[in-house]
Subunit: 449 residues, 2 copies
């Protein structure tokens, strides 16, 4: 069989273009309408996507004056979508900086049980002081300490998911023995950031662990991904950069003692589809006309960590921006934006137009054939194991992709035509079910350390 | 119309009797089977119950050796059940000691949106050192400080739910104005236990706030309930005690400046139903035979805070037990158990039998007529506004109740025969939708303080 593409549908209210809500077809209230998301999930399942994905931060990100703000909490929404779908994976973003490991491990284990092994966790450390101030802190913790905490958080979560061996439950009614207590392994974890003593109160989930996903492309982020991640979402603007990122991440994963096949790389793509190239361009231009550039300017100033009023809409970025090392927020996004502007000699106004479409992800407008071609090119050129599909407008952009691009990818043998019944998300991504650290080879390896 | 009963179905794996899993009909794996819970939810909806309820603590409570342990996290499970039902309320227990207010307020707001206004929050402070040790603490916080924290937690949650005025969203596509920023009210909360600066990232939920439920009957618990709770679950063994509790709680609520009609009191009842009294007794006896008393003895010693081996199965409780004031865990449960044993002159073995059936809640075995009679008696005698129905065995006990007791209650005009379409949980309990604290009379009242 031809190597298979992995497709993930990145859902976001009325679409990934910041002005999508202003189109006549869009519902400004879509972001809290479970019916809207049920519809999107079913379209993605019709297109035999691997999974759905929701981004998240525990903070009101954007200004409510300018665009749809506030949404449903991802684990809640994806749990609701589990019941409305049968096969598709459900990947929720959740923060290691602003959760307790016991609670989050429970919730993901519960979603995995409820969905029959379809849960995934996009592990983020959450940039920004605004989020920190919702959790009793004055400033955001430093980038490095957020990632240290994330690694310890993950170790605790793995211990909690492994705290029940898979075959703990005996259920012997005659003797009155429900479970084998010897197969319970309380973490008794005492680390730098967390102390967690007891076993999880949820049996080991169907997948062992939810699919572990990561999305930050900073140095700390890539090191974390190489160690833990099984799928990586990334923003890559050019084929060359995407190839470099792909090769680097696979090499790092090998260096960390893991099979590089065990980490799937999915760049984001914002497809704007038309019957003709001209039609696609027209759709893109229609969206761009609805951008309010003054709002984008303030956001860009925040991202670049420069004082308000520094940027001018019709000038280029200042030459003296700080290096990535001086940024404590989202490092990789900072660098991506600065490099995009410099490489393409964009004015601030043009840069805002580009970011408004995909927030740094690659926008590609064209016919269904052209979209399928670019996907196949990147997939075949060592730049991607699949794609994070981010339609500019929802639901119409996802509908167009499923009705017109998916059939081409299927005809080329790159994408499944139907789901394997009962397959877990992990199986669909071609990943093994992790052994319990207290059982068999892993237990022996741990004991020998 | 006759005053209407409120019925809540308290769901728990194979039933509220600790030996229920050992019956031939029971599935020992039911506690993580969403299909089992979907079935229960639909039975309760067929019986036009007001709501479903799940207890919780972020800790593995009971020994896995003895009975089904580990379950699905309640907010996740109830979100899954929201999609499988249309009308019934969804009340999840969640701890104010082991959650961040921002996260919990978000999740309840999201469940309320997803379910169309059917969310309820049973607010608990979580007793026990074992839970504390899953969250970085060595010992459980003192009872009083847990309740102080709970009150501040609730104030923060109310501020977060009120941080969006109901009509904030403008959605003006032409001008590009999505929301009215003047109607956003970040909490900027700085208290003893919490600092939470920003607005919630979820619009105000359909009910304004989820239904606020409370279940502790200690002095601290009753004070908290009088101030905040709209429904109270309570364990009451005798009509006299239930009447005293009811009158006391209504008086306290009035004294707190609230309408006593605004707090509904629902004692728990464990109905064991048979075609004849003898048949019901036989069912009760069958369950009791399956109890392992040695396990119960250890649990009782923990509850009473006495060293292992203190109790003897065929003797009465020791005379020199500590007073409730010396207990930092679950005070009201401690007192209930000690009083039950003394009032009925029970041996430890008999006490364990009684507790195994309903963990301190009132077990009532009889015919459907007798069960309906006792419900009507208590309801009419100022002891209850409704009941928390806790079937000893699930699903069969709930099925029996809905098929045989519900029709009698309906024939007597005490219980609805169908749901009012689109009614929120709060409306079903006859409670007003709370005004936003930043709007109208409440804003004026706040400003005048």
């Amino acid at each position: 069989m031809t190597r298979q593409l992995h497709l993930n549908a990145f859902l976001m209210s009325t679409g990934h273009h910041e002005a999508s809500w202003r189109l006549p077809e869009s519902d400004p209230h879509a972001s809290v309408d479970v019916g809207h998301y049920r519809n999107l999930a079913r379209i993605a399942e019709r297109g035999t996507f691997d999974s759905l994905f929701l981004a998240d931060g525990p903070v009101l990100f954007s200004s409510v004056g300018q665009r749809p703000s506030g949404t449903l909490e991802p684990l809640t929404l994806l749990t609701a979508l589990a019941g409305a779908t049968e096969h598709i994976g459900l990947i929720a973003t959740a923060s290691t900086s602003y959760n307790y490991p016991y609670n989050l491990a429970r919730t993901f284990a519960s979603l995995d049980h409820v969905s029959g092994g379809r849960a995934g966790w996009n592990i983020v450390t959450t940039a920004g002081a605004a989020a920190a101030r919702n959790f009793g802190l004055d400033e955001e913790p430093a980038h490095t300490s957020r990632y240290e905490r994330a690694a310890e958080f993950l170790e605790v979560a793995l211990k909690l998911w492994d705290s029940w061996e898979d075959d703990l439950v005996v259920g012997d009614k005659a003797s009155g023995v429900w479970g084998d207590t010897a197969k319970l392994h309380p973490p008794e974890h005492r680390g730098r950031y967390f102390r967690v003593e007891g076993a999880l109160n949820v049996p080991r989930p169907p997948q062992g662990y939810p699919l572990l996903v990561q999305a930050g492309s900073s140095e700390d982020g890539k090191r974390f991904a190489a160690r833990y991640a099984e799928a990586v979402f990334t923003a890559q603007q050019t084929l060359g950069e995407a190839q470099d990122f792909y090769a680097d991440l696979k090499a790092r994963t090998r260096a960390a003692g893991r099979d590089p096949e065990g980490i799937k790389v999915l760049p984001g793509i914002v497809p704007v589809i038309g019957d003709t190239e001209a039609e696609a361009r027209r759709r893109e231009a229609e969206l761009e006309e609805h951008i309010v550039h003054e709002h984008g300017q303030r956001q860009l100033e925040q991202l670049l960590n420069v004082p308000p009023g520094t940027l001018e809409l019709d000038a280029k970025l200042p030459a003296d921006l700080p290096p990535e090392s001086a940024i404590e927020g989202s490092k990789s996004r900072y660098t991506l934006v600065v490099e995009l502007a410099r490489r393409e000699h964009l004015t601030v106004r043009e840069l805002i137009g580009r970011l408004g479409g995909g927030r740094g992800h690659r926008t590609f407008s064209g016919t269904p054939e052209q979209v399928a071609d670019t996907i196949e090119d990147w997939f075949g050129a060592g730049a991607a194991d699949g794609f994070n599909i981010m339609p500019a407008v929802l639901p119409s952009g996802l509908d167009l992709f499923v009705d017109h691009v998916v059939p081409i990818l299927r005809a080329r043998g790159l994408l499944r035509t139907e789901y394997v019944p009962g397959q877990t998300l992990r199986e669909r991504y071609g990943l093994p079910r992790p052994a319990n650290q207290h059982v068999g080879d892993r237990a022996a390896a741990l004991a020998a350390r």
